[in-house]
């Protein structure tokens, strides 16, 4: 092994707040922390502006009432809770609904150019599960607009950004009063392979999700659950990990694009789902829970787009979990499309001009990648792993985890979305809780000014040893790419949309085996921009998070939202006020416990009568 590969030199940086992740939540948190006067750094695995937020298409849900003046935060709150099958943390859902409009207007102040209404206000579009047209959008590239706006704001404020830099471990020390607290983080520059140490009292995790553990996913390579895993290792808890959202509409053909997202706006703007017999099958899958607010005839559903007061929503716009399950059933019943999906048709329902104006990226994506003209023919789509509702258990108002100095916001935080997230609620979640976490982190850091934490050298040495382990394997060793592929295939098969006890047990067994193999991961080449090495390090996080999902999914013996059990197909009321909480045990494996769901106050409960 060459000297360069073993070098344990590192650079040290001192900040008040270090934000890990530069998607919507991370950038918003960093801006808030900076505005609160904290010395702030953003650390991200990719280049700035490439985070997964750019993939968000439809819009930002915010009850601004620009299109339907009856809309307001209580309606949005209610929609969110019902979409989450009442398993959301009520306080998060409330804050989210109340603050989202201001966060959207703030983006405009920073330069975002949203589509407009005829009055010149921000236009809002329909989306699944939302009572009113509520999503502020820019065509079908809202995420790009959001990340670019936040990125430009962060750059204008002069916030330090560590691009292509991966954080692998969090450090803790013990405060004078004996409580353990965050003291910093360890990472490496992807471009050089050199190590760095951050000394900081506050860390905000904004690392996104875990989708890369599944075979068919809309998520990019970055989504390896780093934040989830690091939080666990630092002593924090995860909540709701059994709930993984499979977006109903991902591309299915050609194989190379399988899983790439097809925005829900296609349905929001009039697209419908059909099976191989040409039938609009969603009318057969309206659950009792949503019967009263869902159209029961095609005519009524079609009228709804223009007259929401007197008609009910078409079933294509049910929450994502319902639609994904319906599609899954149709495919299983043999009524799927040639490449194993079903048909999403907007061509026969809207004119070409309208489609190209409202859905330009979708038009482009299908044209370029699948040779399909969506203004002339239906798309073939199927469910794709999209989002994890579960994440770090946080205090709603501050985004603080149970570990002092550790905060989380965005997809890596749990509780906000309950058992299922509504479309459009993610971007607003990033803004609302990104800001709150950033502010709280800054406040905590200034309080910690009396006795700033210190990173103990032995922790750095240990983190370095872990990071360099794949270079030190003698003999054969395992290939990270092979292992990752195996993990993805097995997770898809055993812990996918429909789950059974037997398969989940098999998954747990499989994960133990993979964990064992992962200790022998070996990489070729040096430390300079070596994706094989990066993957080897990320894999440990993927395995730990997958273990959490399997464990929680096996425990919850009912079906609810993003968790469907074939052996327990019904929603069980006794599970309706139970959260599953995961922590890391002494043996390095996840430990599960049940915890009562926080109960909402009376005045909010009244909204559901």
């Amino acid at each position: 092994m060459a000297e360069a590969e073993t070098s344990t030199e590192y650079e040290t940086h001192t900040y008040d707040v270090v934000v890990v992740g530069a998607g919507g939540a991370g950038l918003r948190a960093a801006i808030a922390a900076h505005d609160a006067g904290a010395r702030t750094a953003i650390v991200c695995k990719s280049l700035l502006g490439k985070a997964h937020t750019v993939m968000a298409e439809g819009g930002i849900a915010a009850a601004m009432g620009n299109v339907w003046s009856d809309d307001g935060w209580p309606v949005h709150f209610r929609d969110t809770m019902r979409g989450g099958k009442m398993l959301n943390h009520w306080r998060m859902a409330q804050l989210h609904a109340q603050e989202a409009p201001d966060r959207v207007l703030e983006l405009e102040t920073w330069g975002a150019l949203f589509d407009r209404t005829d009055d010149g206000l921000i236009s809002q579009r329909d989306f699944g599960g939302h009572r009113f047209a509520r999503l502020a959008h820019v065509g079908d590239r809202t995420g790009l607009e959001m990340i670019r706006t936040l990125q430009q704001r962060a750059v204008a404020l002069g916030i330090d950004v560590f691009m292509e830099c991966t954080v692998t471990e969090l450090f803790k020390d013990v405060a004078d009063d004996g409580t353990p607290r965050i003291s910093g983080a360890f990472g490496y520059w992807r471009e050089t392979g050199k190590f760095l140490v951050f000394e900081a009292p506050s860390i905000v995790l904004a690392t996104g999700g875990i989708g890369k553990s599944f075979e068919v996913t809309s998520n990019s390579w970055e989504y390896t659950g780093d934040g989830h895993a690091m939080a666990l290792r630092a002593g924090a808890s995860l909540v709701n990990m059994e709930f993984v959202q499979f977006h109903p509409t991902g591309m299915v053909w050609p194989p190379s694009v399988r899983g790439i997202l097809v925005t829900e706006s296609v349905r929001g703007d009039g697209g419908v789902l059909r099976n191989s017999e040409g039938k609009r099958f969603m009318f057969d899958y309206i659950p009792e829970y949503f019967k009263s607010e869902t159209a029961d005839s095609e005519e009524e559903g079609d009228r709804w787009y223009t007259d929401k007061a007197n008609n009910r929503r078409p079933p294509e716009l049910l929450p994502r979990d319902e639609v994904a399950r319906a599609i899954n059933s149709e495919i299983k019943a043999g009524r799927g499309s040639p490449h194993g999906g079903i048909f999403l048709d907007i061509a026969s329902r809207r004119d070409a001009e309208y489609i190209k104006r409202r859905l330009p990226s979708m038009y482009h994506q299908f044209k370029e990648l699948a040779d399909v003209d969506i203004t002339a023919e239906p798309m073939e789509i199927g469910p794709t792993c999209h989002y994890v509702m579960g994440g770090v258990e946080v205090e709603p108002d501050s985004g603080a985890s149970i570990v002092d100095g550790l905060f989380a916001a965005g997809e890596v935080a749990g509780g906000m979305h309950g058992a299922n997230r509504l479309g459009g609620n993610s971007l607003s979640d990033l803004l609302v809780f990104g800001r709150r976490a950033g502010e709280s982190a800054a406040e905590y850091a200034t309080k910690a000014e009396q006795g700033r934490p210190h990173v103990q050298p032995e922790l750095i040495t240990s983190a370095e040893q872990d990071a360099l382990a794949p270079f030190r394997i003698e003999g054969g060793g395992e290939n990270a790419y092979t292992l990752q592929k195996h993990l993805q295939e097995q997770m898809q098969k055993l812990v996918g949309i429909i789950r059974t006890d037997e398969e989940l047990a098999e998954a747990q067994q499989m994960l133990r085996e993979l964990e064992d193999r992962a200790t022998r991961l070996k990489v070729s080449g040096g430390r300079v921009y070596n994706p094989g090495w990066h993957l080897a390090l990320d894999l440990n996080n993927m395995l730990l998070v997958s273990e959490c999902i399997a464990l929680a999914a096996r425990e919850r013996t009912e079906s609810r939202g993003g968790h469907t059990r074939e052996d327990f197909a019904a929603t069980d009321e006794s599970w309706g006020d139970v959260n599953l909480i995961l922590t890391l045990g002494d043996d390095g494996h996840a430990v599960l416990k049940r915890q009562p769901l926080p109960q909402m106050p009376e005045d909010l409960r009244d909204l559901f009568d």
């Binding site: 750019v54 407009r116 921000i122 670019r148 750059v155 190379s256 990270a480 994706p531």
Partner: protein, 258 residues
């Protein structure tokens, strides 16, 4: 369905390197990035390549395919004959880090040089009003995914390293144009575009437009209009005279940033 594709991939770093031959099995509907990933997974685990979304939305996987700046994820293999050899090199306007990855920090430095958006105060109800026709021009430019292919192909810096300090490049002319056309911005950025950003160096040969994966009409809709705005300020005595004689609409009053 599947076939063996011959590829030549540039491997090396700032010290040196060259094209290496690979043969990799590919199948129908795949893109160049799929082939590279397969090389990575089966033959060269440390092959460096940047990518994220794999759907042409993030602009990470920029490289040069047979000498042309392209996104690896949006270049389909069936654009080539099965017998063709596909040659992939890193972007050639920027310093190489390793294999197909280059140091694009030039672009992030230029981004820092653009003064931030400075809007007028909101209306009494806290909202801002802009009409769709007024935001559409800017929206086209904001489709930019920052793949920097336009920066890579622009001969002003591709062929002249010495021009980099004085030239912002097409991606940032988009940004200047977007802000100068913004109905609510209070800055006048024309002088800045002329001096610090060096828009005069652009000779509108349109390569930026040719390579833009988002189909943004960079030259016709951003650079030339921006050049014309610079002409208004610096080369057209009639416009200057007109602005002195005629009292202008208050919304046209802007602060010049330099």
């Amino acid at each position: 369905m599947g076939y063996d594709l011959s590829m030549r991939l540039w491997r090396g770093d700032a010290e040196g390197g060259g094209l290496e031959d690979f043969t990799v099995e590919v199948s129908e509907g795949e893109v160049v990035l799929d082939a590279i990933h397969r090389v990575q997974a089966t033959q060269a685990g440390d092959l460096a390549v940047r990518w994220n979304c794999k759907a042409g939305k993030c602009g990470s996987c920029s490289a040069e395919i047979n000498g042309r700046p392209r996104l690896l994820c949006m270049t389909r293999l069936n654009d080539f004959e099965e017998t063709d050899t596909i040659t992939v090199t890193p972007l050639r306007a920027f310093p190489v880090i390793r294999d197909l990855v280059t140091d694009v920090s030039y672009n992030y430095e230029k981004a820092r040089e653009v003064p931030a958006f400075a809007p007028t105060p909101p209306d009494a109800d806290g909202k801002r009003r802009m009409m769709q026709v007024d935001v559409e021009r800017g929206q086209e430019f904001r489709k930019c995914i920052e793949c920097f292919l336009c920066q890579d192909t622009c001969h002003v810096i591709r062929d002249h390293e010495e021009n980099k300090p004085a030239f912002a490049g097409p991606r940032f002319f988009l940004r200047y144009a977007e802000l100068d056309m913004h109905p609510l911005d209070t800055n006048d950025r024309r002088k800045l575009a002329q001096d610090a950003a060096g828009i005069g160096m652009c000779n509108i040969t349109k390569c930026c437009t040719e390579v833009c994966p988002e189909g943004i009409k960079i030259t016709d809709n951003a650079i030339i209009p921006m050049k014309e705005r610079v002409v208004d300020r610096s080369f057209d005595p009639l416009v200057w005279l007109g602005s002195k004689i005629r009292r202008r609409d208050p919304s046209d009053e802007r602060t010049e940033v330099v």
